[in-house]
């Protein structure tokens, strides 16, 4: 039951993240549903760069009240929508 709740919450977070990335990062020609959960966000994947990484930090802070202070840790967190959503979920759970 707890696992189901976690997965439902992650689905919502992933969907919201995709919408936020497309709109806030001006990802022209890309729609949220075209982004796969495991797509690499940077480099060969969606082609985001270091400036986008800074913008994602602000997006997480504004929309999920989640901070990313350790940029070394950020490399892993920012790998994909899946890793981002998991970080958001776990950080929010830890605050409760």
């Amino acid at each position: 039951m707890q696992g189901q709740d976690r997965e439902q919450e992650l689905v919502k977070i992933r969907a919201k993240l995709k919408e936020l990335l497309v709109s806030n990062l001006n990802m022209e020609g890309v729609t949220p549903d075209q982004i796969k959960d495991d797509d690499a966000l940077f480099g060969e994947g969606l082609g985001l760069d270091s400036l986008d990484a800074v913008e994602i930090v602000v997006i997480l802070q504004r929309n999920f009240s989640v901070e990313v202070k350790d940029m070394e840790k950020g490399r892993e967190i920012f790998r994909s929508i899946n890793t981002l959503a998991t970080y958001v979920y776990e950080t929010q759970q830890a605050k409760k």
Partner: protein, 353 residues
């Protein structure tokens, strides 16, 4: 200073051909822009006009203000036929603006108010400065010469032209991309609605010389590639000074008046209009714009290039003045463009064949 190329982005499209088409077609009703109370009339640039994935390939983060400027500057370079042949280390860029990227600037300020200074978008910050457009132009067109942004409320374009002429005269550059950009956003539309009267039908009447004129905000970008050497396809800039039209006016002259409704009193334009010298204003095609002088310079350049005069889109109120009522071939050798500020200061730009 010769005009070798021209780029225009405005409510009716992009490029010299779009401007010429608008001049031939005449006035069309403006669109609207969202304001807190709903919507307000405005001569806005359509999103499809700014959809160019080739020129803007490196400008994903650019806002509308910058996109308009980059496209107009790129088109001016392309139009000159000198793209790829210029020494870009000897090519300068001067961007003139009255209000800068104020939509982004206010968005950034709203971000601080809403999320605090640590929660504001770094992209919004970097694009909120007036120099962002010039940076994008330099990056997109590989301009390696001097790059500068000039901000002036009333005479930004004239200041930029004088500076371009100085750069060419002192040999700092061989060519200069010089132009203007200003945008309409919710703040500008709101301010215009509060400070100026708005015509019910959206028609600006620049030749009415009203003491309480009506304005409909407009936006766009106009760029010229100027040089001392090759390319005078659009004539030359013979002067941009604090002067009047010479007395007597030279043969084949036309006088464009920058009246567009944004001044509190435009009766001063009637005083500078000369009896017997054809006058015109094309503000109803681009909207009320603090940098309308560049738009009129583009119309002047087309007149000189084509040997053609264009009917004024809204002739209302011109009285006994000699107004260009019909489009057609004409022996145009000089075009004077006069701009007044709210204090009555005057600059007359002189373009000649």
């Amino acid at each position: 200073m010769n005009i070798a190329g021209m780029g225009v982005v405005f409510t009716r499209g992009r490029g010299a051909a779009a401007l010429e088409q608008a001049l031939e077609q005449g006035w069309v009703a403006p669109g609207t822009v969202a304001v807190p109370a709903g919507s307000a009339p405005a001569y806005v640039v359509a999103p499809e006009t700014l959809a160019d994935k080739t020129v803007l390939a490196k400008a994903r983060r650019a806002d509308r203000f910058t996109r308009m400027a980059v496209l107009a500057a790129a088109d001016a370079l392309q139009d000159s036929g000198l793209a790829g042949r210029l020494d870009t280390s000897r090519l300068g860029t001067i961007v003139a603006t009255a209000l800068g990227p104020h939509t982004t600037t206010f968005g950034f300020l709203d971000g601080i108010l809403e999320f605090g200074d640590a929660g504001v978008s770094p992209t919004a910050f970097s694009h909120s400065v007036h120099n962002a457009a010039a940076s994008y132009i330099a990056m997109t067109l590989d301009v390696r010469g001097p790059t500068l942004t000039v901000t002036h409320f009333h005479f930004a374009f004239h200041q930029a032209l004088l500076l371009a002429d100085a750069w060419l005269a002192e040999g700092r550059c061989d060519h200069v991309l010089v132009g203007t950009v200003d945008e309409v956003g919710a703040v500008m539309a709101y301010a215009s609605g509060r400070l100026c009267r708005t015509p019910a039908d959206g028609r600006i009447k620049p030749l009415a010389f009203a003491t309480a004129p009506e304005a409909v905000p407009g936006e766009g970008s106009v760029f010229f590639l100027v040089s001392r050497g090759e390319g005078a396809g659009y004539g030359r800039v013979a002067g941009a000074q604090l002067t009047a039209v010479p007395e007597p006016a030279p043969e084949g002259a036309v006088h464009l008046l920058d009246a567009d409704g944004l001044s509190h009193d435009e009766s001063g334009y009637r005083a500078v209009a000369r009896e017997g010298l054809p006058v015109a204003s094309y503000a109803p095609l681009c909207g009320s714009l603090m940098t309308i002088s560049a738009f009129h310079a583009a119309v002047a350049a087309l007149m000189l290039r084509r040997g053609r005069r264009y009917a004024v889109p809204v002739p209302d109120g011109a009285g006994d003045l000699q107004v260009c009522h019909e489009s057609g071939p004409a022996e145009i050798r000089h075009v004077f463009c006069t701009r007044l500020d709210c204090a009555g200061n005057r600059v007359t730009l002189h373009l000649a064949r």
